[in-house]
Symmetry: C2
Subunit: 388 residues, 2 copies
């Protein structure tokens, strides 16, 4: 057994919250945590490449209870939730989920949750790292809409990888295998109330189990582990290698409040022609017409294998005097893909420099590197998560 | 030199931001960071008791650039900012600051920033850990008020301790010594633009220097260190021991969105009779009339010295069968005060159990302990930060 992680390295006092699975993650030998939505997020139990291989070939379990929910209910919940996002939620059935953006008046991106529609007027938003609970409460104030907005006792875990299908089948029966992408099932595991969704942050086959009773986290964790024991199930952190291969974005770095959907390749999220109103409508129409000024480009970075970037790496345009040239943007995320044998990632650059084939230069901790704008996703585009 | 802190223990990728002082804090041997407002907050360079002694007797420097600012400008900035807080801002002059609460419609506390009034219609909120930028943008949407809300390039550091006066005098001249509590001075240090406030999170004499150009963080840090070298100036984390002695609350644990000002002893913040409107007015009037149902009590916990709590410790009422009794609340923060020789802290309990002298029982990691409700602050009440 490795020594238990020393939480005092990343916390002082009891301000940051622990997940219902926290004790299980510590016991499983979690070696690092980060902080997300004011909670601890387990990021690593093993070497990152070993975790990547487990995800590609087996089944992995991630404590992502940091994906806090905002629950919206009340007579005007549909209209209000539709206001929060540029997607047309009239196309989202009860029992269905959608990947959505939460928008600001200037077209900025507040968050990119998975939305679940549990009833005509009952929604959950499984959040990335920003206080949408506060944003939604602010928006509701003078909206004239009758809604209740709160954080329910709901804590997701992800079960990802090709063998995840068998694990959820054993736990929840054959019905769960019928789930289409982004649909969900409300069920229970011998009385532990859960929602099971066909979603994930990996590009692999995967599911999320949303625990609806925080007092039963370790119990659920143990049941999931037991169900996958003979399949080699392992707790891991989310894999940045795999999610970058899949072209998945990480809110807070690949997109922020400073970005609009068109800059980051998510313009398809904006349903301009919908009947309902939504925040940022005018700004997004203008940006769509004019085109975004900068774009998040897929990039391939030359040279030896790079570790995942810990800061934004400056990007320069090519041409004479390149290395001394002006910084035109920055790499948001980049990492070496073992199976591609290439360094891949994203760079936020002026739109003119985001054209496929554009040559760039990136300042990495290992020195200046050549880079090229390439398509994303990087791996098996047909197999990546559909736009739904 | 101690080994450089391994940031991969608490970060994955470049999502979380680094302070303008970050490189200086690493070089100074910072041994742990936590995350606050999506940024890294240095929490410790030395033993916590050694840092406490430095704060009590010398001068300490804290990188608190995590206190992100929300800047509110525009023709209706006064009216809008006054809406956000239950305090009457008509009593806040230009050049003056106030400790304020940001309120929700139900009376809940969204944040407890220091507000600075830089102009008639120009405000900064130096935030605790929640996304008030998003909340304020949400509130503004349908408010009908003409405001601009953004995060400016402003990064505070705290200079705290009895010798801080001499340090800021050397840096900024005698004028800064004339500052009354919560007032501020806009100035520069050989061209480095700053705002100097007489504020702090320590109960000691102290100042904050708000850097207004993030590219000059290390330069400012080095200047401050140089100015205090012969006084034994040291970088430290904020001291939980000292702030608890002073009765200062930590947003996110001692008070949260679930609490109203009356529960946490901040009812004096609510100016019911003001001319302007504010969010939560009706709810706070009702709570003021009825009295809060629970209260944050000062508590003294018996027995050997306790380390700062890392989780909420359950609190039980006294009486027969005490140890098996129902949990009636929890300790939010508690720590041993070396100079008092006592364990002190706060417990959120039903109002009837918050009466001075009430006996409680607390489940600590070291076992069940007797506790008593006592007045707060715990040290030199007359000398603690005035209510302004």
């Amino acid at each position: 057994m490795p020594p238990t992680f020393d939480m005092s390295l990343i916390q002082r006092g009891a301000r940051l919250r622990r997940s219902p699975y926290f004790e299980a993650t510590l016991a499983a030998g979690c070696q690092s945590y980060t902080v997300y939505n004011h909670m601890f997020l387990p990021t690593r139990y093993d070497d990152l490449h070993a975790e990547y291989e487990k995800l590609l070939n087996g089944v992995t379990v991630w404590d992502v209870s940091v994906e806090r929910q905002v629950e919206i209910t009340g007579p005007d919940a549909f209209e209000f939730t539709n206001l929060l996002t540029p997607r047309d939620l009239s196309k989202c059935a009860v029992g269905q989920g959608k990947y959505v953006l939460i928008g600001a008046a200037d077209g900025g991106i507040v968050n990119d949750p998975v939305l679940l529609r549990l009833g005509e007027n009952h929604f959950w938003l499984a959040l990335a790292d920003s206080d949408v609970l506060l944003y939604a409460k602010g928006v509701a104030l003078n909206s004239g809409l009758d809604v209740e907005i709160r954080e329910p006792d709901v804590s997701p875990m992800q079960v990802q990888g090709p063998k995840s299908k068998e694990v959820v089948r054993r736990l929840f029966g054959n019905d769960v295998l019928k789930l289409r992408y982004y649909w969900f099932l409300e069920t229970d595991l011998d009385g532990i109330p859960v929602v099971v969704t066909r979603t994930g942050w990996s590009g692999e086959v995967g599911y999320e189990i949303y625990l609806r009773d925080g007092s039963r986290g370790v119990e659920l964790w143990d049941r999931v582990m037991e169900a996958g024991r003979d399949l080699g199930i392992s707790p891991t952190g989310p894999s940045d290698i795999r999610r970058i291969e899949a072209g998945i974005l990480n809110y807070g770095i690949d997109m922020t409040l400073e970005n609009n959907p068109y800059e980051v390749g998510l313009g398809w999220q904006v349903d301009h022609d919908q009947e309902g109103d939504f925040i940022g409508r005018a700004a997004l129409a203008r940006i769509a017409a004019e085109g975004p000024k900068r774009k998040l480009a897929g990039v391939e970075i030359a040279g030896d294998a790079l570790d995942l970037n810990m800061t934004r790496w400056p990007v320069r345009g090519t041409g004479p005097g390149r290395a001394d040239g002006d910084v035109i943007g920055f790499v948001t995320s980049a990492v070496h893909s073992p199976r591609l044998g290439r360094n891949i990632g994203y760079a936020m650059v002026p739109a003119a420099s985001a054209v496929l084939g554009t040559r760039l230069s990136v300042t990495t901790p290992d020195g200046e590197r050549d880079a090229t704008v390439v398509p994303r996703p990087f791996v098996d585009p047909d197999k990546e998560i559909p736009k739904s």
